[in-house]
Homo-oligomer: 388 residues x 2
């Protein structure tokens, strides 16, 4: 805790329903009695072993108030009635969890850990790591996982150029999401493809499987062989494109985020996948959460009112134009033994058309961000603890 965060005074307000804390940087933050009681850190409220809350909200009297509040040894000590329970809150914990603030965020804001990028800022600094280093050195793994969190994609070099090697990447941080395509799937030109991915055609930048709910939040594509002409991979930061759309056409952005789109896929026997989610998904607080963009599986849009449909389509068109803008595109050609991972809720990927006598053999799989972010947070936690 920095000096900045020193707690100086605690003043009970609103008849014991709140307490106002003063900090030596001049800041004041209020907390509610009920909030403090529910979030008490004592071992009757929270398991000391696993941190889980041991009580339910119904175990806390509805009329809970603060009978006494004081600053002791830099911490806040609170006595609650009618429980007659006294607990202590570290000042740093209170500072980190203060909710008494004025925040004016416009719809489409992104978390601090997210950094948007364009070709200009990213083409020459694609985040990458060697598999051997990432699998043996936790600081290398931390950097690589952190890049996925920050930029939504990263490249991995030095994998075996063999079938199944992509699982080594997901094993670094989490678990494969198995689907009707298998634990992983082949991406190569086929004679009678049931999916356009399995041709030599170029593919417009897209997110994968928007017809699936929940959508796979990560995708890994690993290269076993790539000796064709063309067939480069490209990635586009969907959050950057969404921000650009919002800047030039706020109403269009609002339309794409306010109405669900429909997606569907029924290319294989026994499979009829459908989802109803917006192209630009915002959380209830306006946070930009997920981009879904895929011309191939976009189903008829039936949730936009007639009066808005022309403007909705104009916004969709403009979104597509921006996605195709080379200024947003980062390109690399996967060599045998290389893979890349994309945050499939944010970064679109595309493929250039290919030809020639060579072969292009990739394998793809899905995984989920919960595992990746958890592994990253655990490493960061361990490193912080080791540093202290």
């Amino acid at each position: 805790m920095e000096l900045l965060d020193m707690l100086t005074k605690a003043l009970i307000g609103d008849d014991g329903r709140t307490v106002e804390l003063s900090w030596d940087n001049g800041m004041r933050t209020r907390f509610h009695a009920m909030w403090l009681r529910d979030n008490a850190l004592d071992d009757k409220t929270r398991s000391a072993g696993n941190g889980q809350r041991l009580i339910t909200i119904l175990d806390i009297p509805a009329g809970t108030r603060i009978a006494a509040a004081s600053v002791k040894g830099g911490a806040l000590e609170i006595s609650f009635v009618p429980e007659q329970k006294t607990v202590s809150f570290p000042a740093g914990w209170l500072y980190a969890h203060a909710y008494d603030r004025v925040e004016l965020r416009k719809g489409g804001w992104t978390a601090d850990v997210v950094q948007c990028w364009t070709r200009a800022t990213m083409q020459n600094s694609v985040p990458r790591a060697a598999y051997a280093a990432a699998s043996h050195d936790r600081s290398v793994l931390r950097e690589w996982l952190s890049a996925v969190r920050t930029y939504g994609f990263a490249v991995m070099d030095g994998l075996p150029a063999e079938s199944g090697a992509l699982c080594k990447v997901s094993d670094l941080f989490g678990y494969i999401r198995e689907t009707n395509y298998g634990r992983w799937f082949e991406v190569r030109a086929e004679v009678n493809p049931n999916n356009l991915a399995y041709t030599n055609l170029g593919l417009q930048a897209h997110t994968d499987n928007p017809y699936r709910d929940p959508v796979p939040t990560l995708q890994i594509l690993a290269c076993i062989e790539n000796t064709v002409e063309g067939g480069e991979s490209t990635v586009v930061d969907g959050f950057a494109v969404a921000a650009a759309l919002q800047a030039e056409d706020p109403h269009g952005f609002r339309l794409l985020s306010s109405y669900p789109a429909r997606f569907e896929y029924a290319g294989s026997s026994g499979v009829r996948l459908q989802a109803k989610r917006p192209m630009i998904e915002l959380g209830p607080d306006g946070e930009l959460l997920c981009i879904r963009f895929n011309n191939r599986s976009l189903a008829p849009t039936v949730d936009v009112p007639f009066a808005e449909m022309d403007k909705y389509y104009a916004a969709y068109r403009r979104f597509a134009e921006l996605i195709e803008d080379p200024g947003f595109e980062v390109t690399f050609k996967l060599e045998a033994g290389q893979a890349f991972i994309v945050d499939n809720t944010r970064v679109m990927h595309a493929r250039k058309a290919f030809s020639g006598s060579g072969k292009r053999w990739l394998q793809g799989c899905y995984a989920d961000k919960d595992g990746l972010l958890s592994t990253l947070a655990a490493i960061e936690h361990d490193f912080r603890e080791a540093a202290e």
Copy 2:
């Protein structure tokens, strides 16, 4: 197609930007030229094999208009300019995809396939199937999967009372979502549990893993042994409870759906899971999509403004009271060889405390709704085709 859906007339409007269709039931529905062109069903626009769209929105001229529209053989024939392209739309398809309608839905509406339930309507009609029948008879499987879609849970009888049997259930429709808990996990009382689930305490009705994003959308719990006193399973329809909350306190419902909650779990080494999602998640069109409710992993709420926090907590308390209301609770005691599945985005599950000299051994796993709904839709499609 029923007689009701007969298409009688097509009238071009707004200088070719729209067409108004008349139906013999008196209904009129307008479509936009751009929408019709984008959703054309011809084999240059959609792959005849897999149904995927072969063009992008940028392949369609921005100034696309309808030059001619007529009803031919019950279908709509449209000629687009400047492409000089003529395509036909079956009347039934147009009827099913009409978007020109006035819909006034209040926030919290649910899809037609969803039927809410209470103890009064469900305790004596718990949906169930025998495993042997469900695995051999597609109409039995269809009924069982359909119950999960409609009611959010179902029981399965007649499984082997042995480790791993729960995978037989997920194999019927989809894929296990592997997590840090494994492909499946043991649920039995342990000496030093890292999770309260592994004690003999009762557990408040909850959804699983709200600290995971994406949340596992299905959970299966299978019983291998259950000879204790107590330990009954209960399920509660979260959508029914949310509707009850909304009916008695619309503002409270709005608060729980308008502000994200935070969830976290760090009970095991190497695991630090965190998520930020509301307790009641609505789609952008107000559709009720997901309930997250778990006192154990609810982290401090920091996204609710100070001025709303007391009312937010009051709504959370009331939501919890309703969840505990026996009128919403359906109870059954799993016997060896029985399992149940819950839609973890909707139906909460709980466990009564247990004691006695017997043993209670369950196994649990997660899976996802995309696979279940896809399998169900494919069976329904096959049955419809067979009937025609």
